[in-house]
């Protein structure tokens, strides 16, 4: 593993506005690019002026889609960073470890067996599914002998098991298959204003919890015994961190479907700027992850015109090789 260079505080402080600027640019692009391309000025009119011709496009589709990308990106980036800190494992990712699949299996259950089809109904199932898998993964990853490979393997196996379960449900009910196959790929294209409003409180709460446990998680990185000696409460910190992961992943998955690798890539990139200090790493991840997610979404809108590629496919295609590079790099050093 490459040793992280010590970064002067100046670099981190300068980077933050730069990251925010990047986020702003991506948001504007996300509003402007689509089946009907809009100039930045038209976007502005569309946002502010109900009389503008672009008002309907911007308010009904582009704005919810962009906001959903922002929320889901932040959620996945933060969840990934917290997860990596919690398991002391650079390969931890809510998608790879099955948390998103847990949420998604619960949603498919709700849809296929109970006939629940609205987001406000199945978001609770998503949270429950995410919680179950989080606890399972944590129980495995918290073991004394856990290594990055073992944890990733356990997560992938859980993913495979959940996949079989979902496939079984879909086979029993072809209607569910038809509906769910679009959802399980991970997309923010179908965002509606209601979706965004519905998940905002969950993601806000999750964000507050995640940022709140940055400092205690820093201490926990030294190991439980040292942390306890320094006055930290490991059990409480872990509880809060897992709650944050569940809220963030559960609600993001309920709204977008399972998305992999965002939570893996972003904290790794962010750590190159900030070093391992979570008080910096978490905000950076929260800002850079939506940049990646919206960027991927924009790419997906452009590359396959006139149709679109779902954002979950783009992130997997970018994230997979990043994951492989991390693996090869780690093992070599």
């Amino acid at each position: 593993m490459t040793t992280r260079r010590a970064h002067p505080a100046r670099c981190r402080a300068v980077g933050l506005p730069a990251a925010l600027a990047a986020l702003l640019v991506v948001c504007v692009l996300s509003l402007a690019i689509g089946a009907l391309p809009l100039a930045p000025s038209a976007v502005w009119h569309g946002l502010a002026d109900p009389a503008s011709g672009a008002y309907a496009v911007v308010h009904q589709t582009r704005l919810p889609r962009t906001l959903l990308g922002l929320l889901a990106g932040t959620a996945l980036g933060l969840a990934g960073a917290v997860m990596q800190a919690l398991t002391r494992n650079p390969l931890a990712d809510p998608g790879l470890l099955g948390v998103n699949a847990g949420a998604s299996a619960a949603v498919v259950t709700a849809t296929a067996l109970l006939g629940i089809s609205s987001l406000s109904g199945y978001i609770w199932f998503a949270l429950g599914g995410a919680a179950l898998v989080s606890v399972l993964i944590y129980a495995i990853g918290g073991g004394a002998s856990s290594t990055p490979a073992r944890l990733a393997l356990a997560g992938t196996a859980v993913n495979a098991a959940l996949y079989s379960y979902v496939a079984a449900l879909e086979l029993l009910d072809t209607g569910a298959l038809d509906k769910m196959r679009f959802w399980t790929v991970g997309s923010i294209a179908a965002a509606e204003p209601g979706t965004v409003l519905r998940i905002t409180p969950f993601i806000l709460l999750g964000t507050v919890l995640a940022l709140g446990c940055a400092k205690p998680l820093n201490t926990l990185a030294l190991g439980d015994e040292a942390a306890t000696a320094l006055g930290a409460k490991p059990a409480l910190t872990r509880g809060v961190a897992i709650a944050a992961i569940v809220l963030l992943c559960g609600s993001a998955t309920a709204a977008c479907g399972p998305i992999v690798f965002v939570g893996l890539m972003v904290p790794q990139v962010a750590a190159r700027i900030t070093g391992p200090d979570l008080r910096w790493l978490l905000p950076y991840s929260a800002i850079l992850a939506p940049v990646l997610l919206l960027g991927a979404d924009i790419v997906g809108r452009v590359v396959a015109r006139p149709s679109e590629l779902e954002v979950g496919i783009i992130t997997a295609v970018i994230g997979g090789p990043v994951f492989l590079l991390t693996v090869v790099g780690r093992e070599r050093a």
Partner: protein, 322 residues
């Protein structure tokens, strides 16, 4: 014969008996008590016998491949289900179904190509930088699996609903399409490769002790890994091309065989027999579990195997094996 060896033989006999019972249940001899008509004979010869033989051969092949994978990766979860291989077969099959209309032969060939292709890719990426040992093969497999899963999800969204349903059935794994020509191919590959893999059992046992010690004992570590993985991939790819990658059979059979025989090491012969028995039973249960609904066999192995896996994860982390 040592007591563990005796136990191993005893357990193997039980597996064969279990397989035989499932086979008889599948044919359901009782229904022919009034004598066999010509139509009955046709059903038995053209539908049930190929189905049973496919189950036996594919189950044995998948289980054997799983045992080799787990032994080489030194991890009880290191099975083809988890390491990108199944996903590769699925990608191939999806392309076959969607692009070329999904005839049985086309799907079989494209799935075979997808499976072998992903196996080769994983090995080559893992091989960069010299050795494939340790966690490398596993991690690279996981990465490839994640990419291919996304590709598969994407392909399914692009298919029409009939193709999507056919693809989901295929990915889950089913014995419905069994034919005599498939049995012939499966039998040829299985009878060629399985004995070769069984002969490597001793080498695999040494490889399990770690690369350094294995080299010290005179084992050509990379050569053994390459040969056994090639054999396992070909075996599993051929089985998957006929039945689909029946979920978790390759992961669970080696485990159960080891627990029942209480022998360490790859336990290849009992695993192979258990694989055949499990496949037959999964098929029988999937045909009869829900009245008037016929499910693919992979649903049964997937749900039961998934449950077993979660138990395994919760239970085995204490022993540090996962």
């Amino acid at each position: 014969m040592s007591p563990t060896m005796k136990r191993s033989v005893g357990v193997s006999v039980v597996f064969v008996a279990l397989a035989a019972v499932a086979a008889f249940a599948t044919v359901d001899i009782g229904q022919f008590s009034g004598g066999i008509t010509e139509a009955d004979a046709f059903i038995i010869n053209q539908l049930l016998l190929p189905r049973i033989l496919t189950a036996v051969l594919a189950g044995a092949s998948l289980a054997l491949a799983g045992a080799v994978f787990q032994s080489v990766t030194r991890n009880p979860l290191g099975s083809p289900d988890v390491l990108g291989f199944t996903q590769g077969a699925a990608t191939g099959a999806l392309v076959g179904i969607m692009a070329f209309g999904g005839g049985a032969l086309v799907v079989a060939v494209s799935a075979w190509i997808g499976a072998v292709g992903s196996g080769v890719t994983i090995y080559l990426v893992a091989r960069r930088g010299g050795v494939t040992g340790g966690a490398r093969l596993i991690l690279v497999g996981i990465g490839i699996a994640a990419i291919l899963s996304a590709v598969n999800e994407y392909l399914i969204t692009r298919a029409n609903i009939v193709d999507a349903a056919a693809a989901t059935v295929w990915i889950t794994g089913s014995l419905d399409g069994s034919t005599w020509s498939g049995v012939v191919i499966l039998a040829a590959v299985t009878f060629l490769l399985a004995p070769c893999l069984l002969l490597t059992s001793r080498s695999l046992r040494v490889l399990e002790l770690g690369d350094d010690l294995a080299i010290g004992l005179g084992l050509g570590v990379e050569k053994v890994r390459l040969l056994t993985l090639t054999g396992a991939v070909l075996l599993a790819a051929t089985a998957a091309s006929q039945t689909g990658p029946v979920a978790f059979l390759a992961l669970c059979a080696p485990h159960l065989a080891r627990r029942l025989t209480r022998r360490t090491g790859p336990n290849l012969v009992p695993t192979l027999l258990l694989g055949a028995a499990l496949m037959l039973w999964a098929d029988y249960i999937s045909q009869h579990a829900i009245p008037n609904r016929v499910l693919p066999a992979g649903v049964v192995t997937g749900v039961l195997g998934g449950g077993y896996l979660v138990y395994l994860l919760a239970h085995q982390r204490k022993t540090g094996q996962i």
